[in-house]
């Protein structure tokens, strides 16, 4: 099920979607020329849209902000006040398929029968996911072809190559609701298959258990990994967090906050008694990769946690390429 939208009418279509809800889209930041997800202030901001590259920073902050207050407390009268979870309707536009699948993974973790994170759920329920299809991979580090991505979106826009139309694929009932906003355009119904994205870079195998003791891990991390945690903080699926209390200097009022944390931090693996489970850099690096590719599918089915967006490679200060690393092991180099 889908619609055809003439390319010339894209801005009109987006203006209609924008109406009545906050609209977040990839724009080029003026101060440093970096593409980021930002809330648009109005129709005029539509001219700043940029689809040439995948936004450098992920959209996970709209589901779980880097610093998120959970509740406030008053120690004097022993009262807790839940942070008002504001249910603002938000449209996230321009997510690539990798980032959409990252949302799927976060949904699996934070909204499931055993455990539901209220803050995440409230944010998630009010977000509409409108994707942007990659006709060509936006970065040479993309390797999503190897990561079994599924169609997980409300709407997906595909700029049909060589044609004058954009194909809008409706992926969920929420997508139907969203399309009603654009009823006025009287778009032609159309159906077409959204093809799999092809990327030049590929991960040759997911079966990496046999390489657990491979000397290459140690060699690479010792010579290159700075343990700066940029990879995990940049990752759209990394969801570890830390919780702490922030008491004000009046010693009465305070906030309990959570913030992103990272398995690449030595402090992260510290437990009572000052014991470190993974004091070794290599063990921490390996744990990230194995969690993404081996441990996660073992629990949640055959889909790996990594979605192949390539940010952890592109944004690594020393450009450690774990895909290349595994491929080399597979090739027996």
């Amino acid at each position: 099920m889908g619609y055809l939208l003439p390319k010339s009418k894209l801005n009109t279509f987006l203006e209609l979607l924008m109406h009545g809800s906050s609209f977040i889209a990839p724009v080029r930041r003026k101060k440093d020329d970096v593409v980021v997800f930002e809330e648009l202030e109005g129709k005029t901001d539509l001219t700043r849209l940029d689809f040439t590259t995948n936004p450098q920073f992920t959209a996970k902050k709209f589901f779980m902000p880097a610093y998120e207050p959970l509740f406030t407390y008053n120690m004097k009268n022993q009262k807790l006040t839940d942070k008002k979870i504001t249910a603002r309707q938000r449209i996230l536009f321009g997510l690539r398929l990798c980032d959409l699948n990252a949302v799927k993974i976060q949904d699996q973790l934070f909204i499931n029968p055993q455990f539901t994170d209220d803050h995440y759920q409230a944010a998630r329920e009010n977000i509409f996911l409108v994707g942007w299809y990659c006709n060509t991979p936006p970065s040479k580090f993309c390797f999503c072809e190897s990561m079994n991505l599924t169609h997980y979106y409300d709407l997906m826009l595909r700029d049909l190559p060589g044609k004058k139309d954009i194909y809008i694929d409706v992926g969920s009932p929420k997508g139907e609701i969203l399309m009603r906003k654009a009823m006025k355009l009287k778009l032609k119904e159309h159906h077409e298959h959204v093809p799999k994205i092809r990327t030049p870079k590929k991960l040759k195998t997911h079966d990496i258990r046999k390489y657990f003791d491979h000397p290459k891990w140690q060699k690479t991390t010792e010579s290159k990994c700075l343990s700066c945690q940029r990879c995990t903080t940049m990752c759209p699926t990394c969801m570890c967090f830390d919780i702490y209390d922030k008491t004000q200097t009046d010693l009465e009022h305070g906030t309990r906050e959570r913030t992103w944390d990272s398995c690449h931090s030595k402090q992260f693996t510290r437990v009572a008694g000052d014991h470190y489970f993974r004091p070794d850099r290599t063990a921490r690096f390996k744990h990230r990769i194995y969690h993404k590719i081996v441990y996660y599918p073992e629990i949640f089915g055959q889909v790996p946690m990594c979605t192949g967006c390539g940010r952890c490679i592109e944004q690594c200060p020393t450009q450690i390429d774990f895909v290349e690393l595994i491929n080399e092991m597979e090739d027996g180099k």
């Binding site: 920073f57 343990s227 200097t249 010693l251 402090q267």
Partner: protein
């Protein structure tokens, strides 16, 4: 108990919990903590970070600041619960002062890169002392100078908050925790974490000689967010990968000598210690002279 440079816990004392429970008792009885702010060799900038913060009036309500020789004449002469100390040991007088202050408090909290890592003054350890002294002072016979070393080299230190200058918010958060009798939260994560959370474009990838990946955070990436590369004023993280960092900067086209100079700016002693452990050989000739 011994404290040494490079220990990975910034709260050092094994009996920290006893102290914290004592602080809780004091609060339950409605007593305020007795706090003193002192300085030895340093620029006094760290003391100013405390005094200039907009939270200072609230701090006055929270604790009793009984001594700040830097700004007041009449100072409490007795025993303190917490002493906040700025500056490093660079002379015999400093050493005696540090020992005296240690004996006069339960918890010693060192703030600033000088007190924790040696900062800029520690550069003189790699030069000839008489030469340095003569270059700066007209008369040198009264100086009695020692190697410039962090306080923890001489007396046990309980809490260290690095930075040049240290982050006022962090100092206030730690003091609040202590007043409540909670173990203070001091981050050990590198600056990069806070940098990404603020969505700053990586300066290292832009080709600037940023030391963020190996520098302890807690500063909210204030420099990098303003477009200036991290100079490493908060000292290296406990598991800083120095060979990889040096290689990364060399790959950007920086000269080995310049990289070494930068690494030695704020935390020369700790960097040296870590380099020794990781087998890094400095190209720069470091003449570590025994100057007494």
């Amino acid at each position: 108990m011994k404290t040494k440079l490079g220990q990975d816990i910034l709260c050092h004392r094994a009996d920290m919990n006893d102290h914290l429970s004592r602080l809780r008792d004091k609060r339950a009885k409605g007593q305020k903590l007795k706090v003193g702010v002192f300085g030895i060799t340093g620029c006094a900038g760290c003391q100013l970070t405390i005094l200039f913060s907009e939270k200072f009036p609230a701090l006055m309500d929270m604790i009793d600041i009984l001594a700040v020789p830097f700004v007041k004449e009449q100072n409490y002469k007795g025993h303190f619960d917490i002493i906040i100390l700025e500056g490093l040991v660079s002379s015999k007088a400093d050493k005696e002062k540090a020992e005296e202050l240690r004996a006069r408090c339960d918890l010693l909290m060192c703030i600033g890169a000088c007190a924790t890592h040696g900062c800029v003054p520690a550069m003189k350890n790699f030069m000839n002392h008489p030469e340095v002294e003569r270059a700066v002072y007209a008369k040198v016979d009264y100086l009695n100078s020692l190697d410039a070393t962090p306080v923890s080299k001489h007396v046990p230190v309980d809490i260290e908050l690095p930075g040049c200058p240290p982050d006022a918010n962090q100092i206030y958060a730690v003091l609040t925790d202590l007043v409540l009798g909670r173990p203070p939260r001091i981050t050990h994560n590198p600056v990069c974490v806070e940098c990404v959370k603020r969505e700053v474009d990586c300066l290292l990838l832009q080709g600037k000689p940023c030391l963020g990946p190996i520098t302890v955070g807690g500063c909210d990436a204030i420099c990098t967010a303003a477009g200036h590369e991290c100079m490493g004023c908060r000292g290296p993280t406990d598991d800083a990968n120095l060979p990889a960092m040096i290689q990364a900067l060399q790959d950007q086209g920086y000269k080995r000598k310049d990289i070494e100079n930068r690494l030695h700016t704020y935390a020369s002693l700790l960097v040296d210690e870590q380099a020794k452990m990781q087998g890094v050989k400095w190209e720069k000739k470091l003449k570590r002279k025994k100057n007494g």
